[in-house]
Symmetry: C2
Subunit: 216 residues, 2 copies
Amino acid sequence: MATMTTRTTGAPGRRPNRRGEGALLRGELVAAASALLEEGEGEQSLSLRAVARRAGVAPQSVYLHFADVRALLVAVYEARFGELLATLENAGGGGDGLDGRARLRALCLAYCGYGQAHPGHYRVLFGTAGSPGWEPDQMAGLPALALLDEAVRAAGRAPGGAGAVGIAPETLGVWAALHGLVTLRRDRPGFPWPPVEVLVDALLDAPAGDGVRAAS
Amino acid sequence: MATMTTRTTGAPGRRPNRRGEGALLRGELVAAASALLEEGEGEQSLSLRAVARRAGVAPQSVYLHFADVRALLVAVYEARFGELLATLENAGGGGDGLDGRARLRALCLAYCGYGQAHPGHYRVLFGTAGSPGWEPDQMAGLPALALLDEAVRAAGRAPGGAGAVGIAPETLGVWAALHGLVTLRRDRPGFPWPPVEVLVDALLDAPAGDGVRAAS
DNA sequence: TGTACATCAGTGAACGCGCGTTCACTGATGTAC
DNA sequence: TGTACATCAGTGAACGCGCGTTCACTGATGTAC
């Protein structure tokens, strides 16, 4: 890690926002936190003081807009989930002329693409159990998952129907596989991974092999 | 988090090991670190001082056996990878009478079983890029992956042959899917997951759907 | 058998660090009269 | 138009914490002679 400035106060040149524009700092803090999460290696590398330094502001100023560090993380979390959903919607919408499998494939590639383009943010969204704002029975990523589920059904890959929250088990399998691809590729960069298209096709085209369907 | 004892020295009752048995402490430290990793929420929750506390020893005593915290983590890492490999070998060996698909299924379930039984250790093995001892071009988990690859081939699911390090892309897909299942279930405990058998079967039996094989 | 010495296993005390958080304060800008 | 006041946006200084690491030390046990 590079040595960091230890200055405890904000940038000397910074001027306070004008009256009524104090909320601007809130956005700057979210942006600073996002940048740090994207550069660092996890939520634990994000400290309130680091965010304040990045935003050129004294540590205490963070409390003007957030109750604590956790609340700041929640704000980042919400912004990034919106981003992912928009990415997936774009990929799905752009494939209106595609058949079911091609649309599913496009969605899968878009999902992996987001994960590869924003590894740090992906970690925030789907990372350790400590993700901020994660309530046991509330699923912030559900809209994205529903989008995927729709594509899986449209491709004729969910013969058994929906599961507990309206999501087919096959969709959960696809989601898990994509999640595994993104995280393994991110965390094991030294491994000679094939291109992501090859892996996604291997997943979608898995041959039945010599086995029969499990009875159980 | 519960409040922890802040005592800086070791347990008052602890007696030094006898001459020649100083190496015993090494094992105790690895065990203490393993326990903390299993209880905590990631490597960042492991501190040298916490390990020493757990082992009932002064913080400096850790340096008698490890150059630094990192070296201690490497020792845990090696021990746990051996454990996972043994688990998979058992599952594969016990299924000698099984056909290819059933053996692959048994391996997949054993993999997920290890991940669910030891979520903290699984995190150490396949967690963030900071995993200790992880050199870019060395893959400590390769033996386990080779075992899985063998089963995928035996099940007739790798028509294209081997990839870069002798592992078929289909095997990487299965690995990624299992990894995703384990980590998502661990990190999203509030989600109404189906039983792991259902998910593994959904992965292994994915219907071809209405699409054709991708040309590219 | 006695004794000086070496070695082993581990501790006491301290260092400087970055952290989250609190409290009282400042200086500019708007508003009431 | 002037002036007293309220409010807003932010800072200065400090707190106690656990952390990794270093240095000098202790006390028991074995070994050489």
